[in-house]
Amino acid sequence: MFTKLDNLMTEEKSRPPLMMPLALSQGVTDAPETNPENPNKIEINDFTLYYGKFKALGNLSMTIPKNKITAIIGPSGCGKSTLLRSLNRMNDLVPGVHTEGKIFLDDSDIYVPGVDVVDVRRRVGMVFQRPNPFPKSIYDNVTYGPRLYGIRRKYELDEMVENALRQAALWDEVRDKLHQSAMALSGGQQQRLCIARALAVEPEVILMDEPASALDPVATLKIEELMQTLKETYTIIIVTHNMQQAARVSDFTAFMMIDNPQNRTGKLVEYGPTVQIFTNPKLQQTEDYVTGRFG
């Protein structure tokens, strides 16, 4: 819960710590220190995850470049969602989970003991497969995050709401019904509301777990267009079942599979620029999957 100084003294002294220990903080700081030369927003380093005895992810290593859309594809059950949820430590919610390896967000390992998980989750936002707005008004959904951080003044909140809803391409549709219930919106609108809600806390990365799979084609298209705009400001990682979507939307693609039917451990098979993965994959398995021969 409270960061301990000892735990932050890792062997990686060259990398600056994610958060100064709370006891040593010199007051308010601005954005965390980042290495501007590092083109990778996230670096996954030999990462393994167990649900109890079951090894769900095995020794994954990968980098996620800044301000690009990275897609994770693969057959059902290969661990794509598990990997995604490891990036904002949502897997912590599953009882009996433990991990090995590191995941660096801007040069700081988010799995170091004592790291502030709440902060990680703010910086790495998530949009879920099925839209899950709170049964509150649209306005209250979007301001939920900011108000946790003590932002209370009406004009400030109003501005944040408009900003977030504009970024999510929802503003024009809901601007005069901000105080109506979010549950009255259509599926596609609810999903964009969830995106706006995540944007309101000003994350740096947005994780999307099959965000359009519950939506109709028109709504799906809107979301895909949205992603292109958003990537200018945020780094986006999307898990998708839909290969055509991955090919349309992403700049980089990671292809995952289980290593064998007994273990069912998820492994990274191939990773590279989307164009290359889909037209000229290096491995036979990748080619088999993207050409639809299985999965």
């Binding site: 709440v118 951080y149 501005e159 000003e202």
Partner: protein, 321 residues
């Protein structure tokens, strides 16, 4: 294609990095969550306190006489609560007899036809009955039976307790029947068995474990109740089944007459005795009140534990453990 929408505010507002803010939120989180744990423990304190004291005080005055003797006149030492134990027994048996068959049958109706007007009405009625204060049920028992019979009786008490048990029985049985897989019932019907035979030979046995649990819990509740008995069974310190049976046999009376004699007596129960003794200024009686409390608690708690274990065993069996 959506045109680029300019982001008009600075990314990563100051507030999102305020360490003091984080600290406060984390602190609140820990404090509030700890409070819930503390409150849970607080709520359990009376449980252990009461059980502990009942065992401590009641245990001191329990002896064999307590279970096998009738009460002595006020002020005299010794004696027991045989009358109350026998009374509790009779009342509980009566309650089961009057509550279980109608309850199970009504539950069959509700489980199979829940959305008919009658089904809805029964579900509503069960809810209402479950919420009626037990003393009001006692008033009802008085108005219905005692007034018409002209005297207090075990019968009236038994019926009052049965009304108390009825909602529990109906609800539990209904849930258990619904849990029996449709395929079982359909298989039986497909073989040509009529509805009633299916119900009795297939559904009932399948649901029986759960139904028995419901009955056990109903008994636990009914045996601990006092209020409904205040004006129905009333209480009777000279109630002794042995004497009635002996007298009946001596006078060559039939079983039915003897039974009738038993049922038409006012009768005491353990909780009723507790209630009376606790208010009497004789230390003897107070001690016996504690001892009765102990017996009552053991009775009620063991039925409860038995019911839970039953459920656990049944669940394990069904899961093939």
């Amino acid at each position: 294609m959506i045109e680029s929408i300019p982001v008009t505010t600075t990314i990563n507002r100051r507030q999102f990095h305020s360490k003091a803010g984080y600290q406060r939120r984390k602190m609140t989180n820990v404090v509030m969550l700890s409070i819930t744990g503390f409150l849970t423990i607080l709520a359990l304190v009376p449980l252990f306190w009461i059980v502990g004291y009942v065992i401590h005080k009641g245990g001191q005055y329990i002896n064999l006489d307590f279970f096998t003797h009738m009460p002595r006149p006020l002020g005299m030492a010794g004696g027991g609560v045989l009358h109350a134990i026998e009374g509790t027994l009779i009342l509980t048996i009566l309650a089961i007899l009057f509550a279980v068959p109608p309850g199970v049958l009504a539950a069959f109706y509700v489980a199979y036809k829940p959305n008919t007007p009658l089904g809805i009405a029964v579900r509503f009625g069960t809810d209402v009955l479950a919420g009626v204060p037990s003393i009001v049920i006692g008033l009802f028992g008085y108005a219905l039976i005692v007034k018409n019979q002209g005297h207090y009786s075990a019968l009236a008490g038994g019926i009052a307790l049965a009304i108390l048990m009825l909602p529990t029985i109906i609800r539990t049985t209904e849930e258990m029947i619904k849990l029996v897989p449709q395929t079982l019932r359909e298989g039986s019907l497909a073989l040509g068995a009529p509805e009633w035979k299916t119900a009795l030979s297939v559904t009932l046995p399948a649901a029986s474990n759960g139904i028995i649990t419901g009955i056990l819990l109903g008994i636990a509740r009914a045996s601990g109740e006092t209020a409904p008995l205040l004006f129905t069974a009333l209480g009777n310190e000279s109630f002794e089944i042995g004497k009635i049976v002996q007298g009946g046999l001596a006078g060559h009376q039939s079983i039915f007459t003897i039974l009738g004699k038993i049922l038409e007596q006012p009768v005491d129960s353990l909780p009723l005795t507790l209630w009376k003794y606790a208010q009497q200024p004789f230390p003897e009686r107070i001690n016996q009140a504690w001892a009765s409390a102990l017996v009552l608690m053991i009775l009620v708690l063991s039925i409860n534990i038995l019911a839970r274990i039953w459920v656990q065993v049944r669940t394990n069996r069904m899961q093939g453990k």
